[in-house]
């Protein structure tokens, strides 16, 4: 053991009862989310790995996200969209370190003209994730400090991850099966 190693004080202690605590905490978070979203909460279920999956109406996106951020789920996993041909499923996943509770928040938004309030003030890590979602899907986040393309060149035409994206540059797309 090197004498130079400094072990700082634990900010997050390992909790042997973490799974149980996670379950209680998830129940608590589910209740808080339901009260924040109110009638806009469409569906809530627990996935096989313990993630709390909650679907809300698009109008309650900000309220639901704020209730999660205000209740200790400060670590952001990702924020993205899934293209289901008639709508996008805007997906946000956050978790809490102490209880290991993971929450996946989903809202169905229209493919074009969706005006989604930003959550980058709640989670600074969401800043770039929202830029990427804008870049790849065309979803505009109102209130975002600096919404511009991040992965594709600035003058790129179109939003590539949409299923109706036409690749003007390269047309060879053979089918595999």
């Amino acid at each position: 053991m090197s004498p130079r190693r400094k072990t700082g004080p634990d900010a997050v202690a390992v909790d042997e009862t973490a799974p149980a605590a996670g379950r209680d905490r998830r129940a608590e978070i589910a209740v808080l989310l339901a009260s924040a979203a109110g009638a806009a909460l469409i569906e809530q279920r627990t996935e096989t790995d313990g993630t709390l999956y909650a679907r809300v109406a698009a109008a309650a996106w900000r309220a639901a996200a704020a209730s999660l951020a205000g209740n200790g789920l400060v670590r952001l996993d990702f924020l993205t969209c899934v293209d289901w041909d008639d709508h996008f499923a805007l997906t946000l996943q956050v978790y809490e370190m102490e209880s290991r509770a993971v929450v996946r928040l989903v809202a169905d938004i229209p493919r074009d003209g969706a005006d989604v309030p930003t959550v980058s003030d709640l989670w600074p890590a969401a800043d770039w994730e929202e830029r990427e979602t804008f870049d790849q899907f065309g979803v505009v986040f109102t209130g975002h400090p600096d919404l511009r393309r991040i992965l594709n060149p600035e003058r790129w035409d179109g939003h590539p991850l949409r299923r109706d994206y036409v690749d003007h540059v390269d047309i060879t797309r053979p089918q595999y099966f």
């Binding site: 993205t80 289901w84 890590a125």
Partner: protein, 392 residues
């Protein structure tokens, strides 16, 4: 003066002194330069539009996307088995084992596949050896950027010993495609375990020499201590992960805190730092090499016999429509994750790759403002971004 590390402001204490010629203020201007996208530093194509006041960085705009290789779009047109060939090179090629692993964890969760014991052990062994090679390269490249060229050569020579192990196991030195859905693709031949013990021992034996050359070097201390200090609260607020987070004092490591695979069977310590500066981040990585070697030795000793891949994994798996899975693990850069959504067909509807370097690099503007240009290079080096992981 004792510093409150928990709540220290992110403004730097080691400021560049305000010296200079006695010109009237309106004659002195800031100027914009581009650091990158091609840069002799070894972190790939990253463009930092830097506003400089003399040598001091006063503003920073991080521009990425120069290595965007459309991983997520490609994954929408490949079967679940075919994606493995893309994950290890398109995202974070330095920790290819971990990338394949996290994708396989997500896909196995989606498809309900159980991995045999020997495969789990091989995954852990190769993952930890990959962590050692990745950290060696990272601190070697940091040495190269700071001018310690010999250290770079030493780290690469140590790394070659471990890369030869991978070559014997799966034929590749860098992009392995070792994992499969339900296990791993190649089995370790009987002599491999002994060679692995020797190689790991050979690397660990050299580490005191590395410490004497670089980590205890007075010049390195001058260049790295108190550069880009990060407090614990700031790190948690900004969403840091991996060695960057641990260097601030937060003892959070997914291998211990949200254990995946069989990590709960091994004994290892989590090195943490105190101030979160460049010196501490390097030290955390250096110590993690030693801890990874411990895990490898334990896993090699306990390696069971048996199959290395699950039976009856479908050739073209098609999970039910609407099924989702997310898997996360601790790669050398931090927490990576893979989110898979299925629509009932043989190709996933969406694969979202959560890259650790993406989130770490987003913090760069907070970390580097107020320090000099040469410190900026070191700060980027200790964030250890791999542009494949950032841009995917």
């Amino acid at each position: 003066m004792p510093v409150d590390h928990d709540n220290a402001p992110s403004a730097p204490e080691r400021l560049v002194p305000e010296e200079g010629p006695d010109l009237p203020p309106e004659d002195i201007q800031d100027f914009l330069i581009n650091v990158g996208p091609h840069h002799p530093g070894t972190h790939g194509v990253l463009r930092l539009v830097t506003r400089l006041d003399g040598e001091k960085v006063v503003g920073l705009d991080v521009r990425i996307g120069y290595m965007h290789r459309s991983l997520e779009k490609i994954a929408e047109n490949r079967s679940y088995h075919q994606i493995i060939a893309f994950t290890d090179r398109t995202a974070d090629y330095l920790a290819a084992m971990h990338n394949d692993w996290v994708y396989c964890l997500a896909a196995e969760q989606l498809l309900g596949i159980k991995v045999p014991e020997r495969a789990e052990y091989l995954r852990v062994i190769t993952g930890e050896i990959n962590r050692m090679t990745s950290h060696l390269l990272s601190i070697g490249a940091l040495g190269l950027d700071s001018g310690a060229t010999t250290y770079f050569l030493w780290c690469f020579a140590a790394r070659e010993k471990l890369v030869h192990l991978f070559e014997e196991l799966c034929g590749a030195r860098l992009t392995y495609v070792f994992h499969r859905l339900g296990g791993v693709g190649y089995d370790a031949h009987p002599g491999w375990v002994e060679k692995a013990h020797q190689a790991v021992h050979g690397v660990i034996e050299e580490l005191p020499r590395f410490r004497t050359l670089f980590h205890d070097n007075y010049i390195w201390h001058l260049r790295s201590k108190d550069v880009s200090r990060l407090s614990r609260a700031e790190a948690l607020r900004l969403g840091a992960q991996g060695p960057l987070l641990r260097s601030t004092g937060v003892k959070w490591d997914l291998r211990r805190d949200i254990p995946y695979s069989i990590y709960d069977r091994f004994e290892f310590d989590i090195p943490v730092g105190t101030t979160g500066d460049v010196y501490d981040r390097t030290e955390v990585r250096f110590e993690e090499i030693i801890e990874s070697a411990k895990i490898v030795r334990q896993a090699l000793a306990d390696l069971p016999t048996g199959p290395v891949i699950a039976q009856r994994v479908p050739r073209l798996p098609a999970p039910p429509s609407g099924a989702e899975a997310y898997a996360r693990l601790e790669s050398p850069r931090g927490e990576i994750g893979c989110y898979l959504v299925s629509d009932g067909s043989i190709k996933p509807r969406r694969m979202k790759w959560r890259g650790a370097s993406f989130h770490n690099l987003a913090m760069l503007s907070e970390l580097a403002v107020g320090y000099t240009l040469s410190d900026l290079i070191n700060i980027v080096g200790t964030l250890d971004p791999v542009m494949g992981d950032v841009d995917r």
